[in-house]
Symmetry: C2
Subunit: 338 residues, 2 copies
């Protein structure tokens, strides 16, 4: 590979000049710049990443920690990861992919070695074991998801509390008074990932205000478990006319089982989902839903982290994205409503 020095010689300038045309950190006369750029082309020069990192103590790499565990809805993670990668590139950064496997050790390794300039951490738990380290490091960090205590942290997430509220509001407005929540698998709640609880909280608070009765049931998402869950729901609350589902895997089983039971959607029961748009539009009934803005989350995370890196430390600590509910074919007036 050609080196900076070779380019300099070829262009008849000094090394620093080449360096500066590359970085734009000082003004270069047009002719010089052109000569240098021409030499760069001609020699097929690419700056050496290691040397650059060593000299500037910036690797231009952002580390992204993705969960190893795969019980979350995978396409969302992937979409976030891809959004992070492409947004990062557009800001001149590459992305290092870390799995949760190494846990806190990965944080130490990356910050200690200068491998990455900053870090984006996905799937944060309420009491995440990486939190102390993230607090300690002065390396810019952004979390996707909210831990219990966000003091001193920068986080991005969908406003799940508002999401929950929005779902009941929609159903209440349609006259529904008994609503069942089909939630994530019990394991998700046990792990305290936060978002499930927050949705529930939003749901409950607003339901209380609107006089809607709520029944919450976690659900594995398989046909068997959905079958059981559904029986228990109608057993306990025969008057249930509205469903809020926050569990991608449960959507198809739910719709399918409702159909088999002869309950029409949306004539007999309405269904509102919290899921990616794609899932909502591809289900057997086009679902009224609150979208999970995966792309935007990844993008915002990068922008926040880049702002920190370039010193434009944005004031905001927690960026909560406002939920948007899209009405589709799965929700309608409660039976017996005007």
């Amino acid at each position: 590979m050609a080196t900076l020095a070779e380019v300099a010689r070829h262009a008849g300038v000094s090394a620093s000049t080449v360096s500066y045309v590359l970085s734009g950190k000082r003004s270069i006369s047009a002719p010089t710049r052109e000569r240098v750029e021409h030499s760069i082309k001609e020699l097929g020069y690419h700056p050496n990443a290691g040397a650059r990192a060593l000299a500037s103590s910036r690797s231009n790499i952002i580390a992204l920690m993705v969960p190893l565990r795969t019980d979350m809805y995978v396409p969302v993670m992937m979409e976030i990861a891809i959004a992070v990668a492409t947004t990062a590139r557009s800001h001149g950064y590459d992305v290092l992919l870390l799995t949760g496997e190494e846990g806190p050790a990965a944080v130490r390794r990356v910050t200690g070695s200068g491998l990455a300039d900053a870090m984006i951490v996905m799937d944060v738990e309420l009491e995440d074991e990486r939190l102390p380290l993230l607090h300690a490091t002065r390396q810019p960090t952004v979390l996707i998801g909210l831990p219990a205590d966000t003091v001193g942290l920068t986080c991005v997430d969908l406003d799940f509390t508002a999401t929950g509220a929005l779902c009941v509001e929609h159903l209440a407005a349609l006259g529904h008074r008994e609503v069942a929540i089909v939630g994530e698998a019990p394991a998700v709640y046990e792990r305290h990932t936060g978002f499930a609880e927050r949705t529930l909280e939003g749901l409950r608070r607003r339901a209380g205000e609107l006089g809607v009765r709520l029944l919450h049931r976690p659900c594995q998402g398989s046909y068997e478990s959905m079958d059981g869950t559904l029986s228990r729901i109608f057993d306990e609350r025969p008057g249930t006319t509205g469903f809020v589902v926050q569990n991608e895997a449960a959507i198809d089983p739910l719709l399918s089982l409702l159909r088999r039971q002869g309950r029409a959607v949306p004539e007999d029961v309405s269904v509102v989902a919290v899921c990616p748009e794609q899932v909502a539009t591809q289900a057997s009934v086009r679902l009224t839903s609150v979208a999970i803005p995966a792309q935007e989350m990844g993008q915002r995370a990068v922008e926040l982290v880049v702002a920190k890196l370039e010193g434009n430390a944005s004031g905001e600590q927690v960026a909560l994205l406002a939920p948007e509910l899209t009405v589709r074919a799965s929700s309608g007036p409660a039976p017996g409503t005007a």
Copy 2:
């Protein structure tokens, strides 16, 4: 951050000694090693990645190019990516995440800058535009998926031809004589990704040998398109008793529509899927299937690339993983068979 020199001073040895205890490239007396290791602990020393890369011209990073496009089944991509990341770590490498977005330019950038020592490319197309560059670079590269011409390349993939054959064999053995193939979306075929064609080829060849009639229909995977596809299939071939599905999105619609039409699985029609285990076991009927060994593909890719990096250039060029068919509840004897 502590530097190597500081560790050396702290331990009362020379810098090179510290370097050698780290790399193990020459023998160190036990006491010296201990002193050095102790100092490393005490100072919380982590070697600087940039300096190391510059001095050794090895970054210990493997680049992974994932497709930007999201019309493939995402969980498989994610599973491969995670397998790549964890396997790479276990060999001492980190993984740089590149999206297909930059296209060939990314290859140039990475090889040119020494950012990564090697590259794993996913979702290769038959006539991939990155191929010429990959051929040109002497940087170890492994493809996941097969291009049209694999000469001089190292590739990992499921043996889709054998997969297709396996599927018909299973159905033929059960007495099925008319089989329909529900394939990937037309776009997948148009893009010439190879795997779909190869499955089809295996299917056709073996079907010919076994006297099974085949009907192939691409399918978008939505309920609407599946509905249309299904009608056309039974229209054209009313005697169809077997289905082979290679399209994760089409599975739920297919099962659901068959049920609605009153065709029982597996009593009236048998269904064999080519999909990840998880999808097969979570469908409304537990599916007889050939698994897509995502993890193994990621792992093998890393192992091949690491072998190249460490000079144990394995002889094999194309690693085709043998398909395995697992019989579950969706396939049974053809109606009217003894």
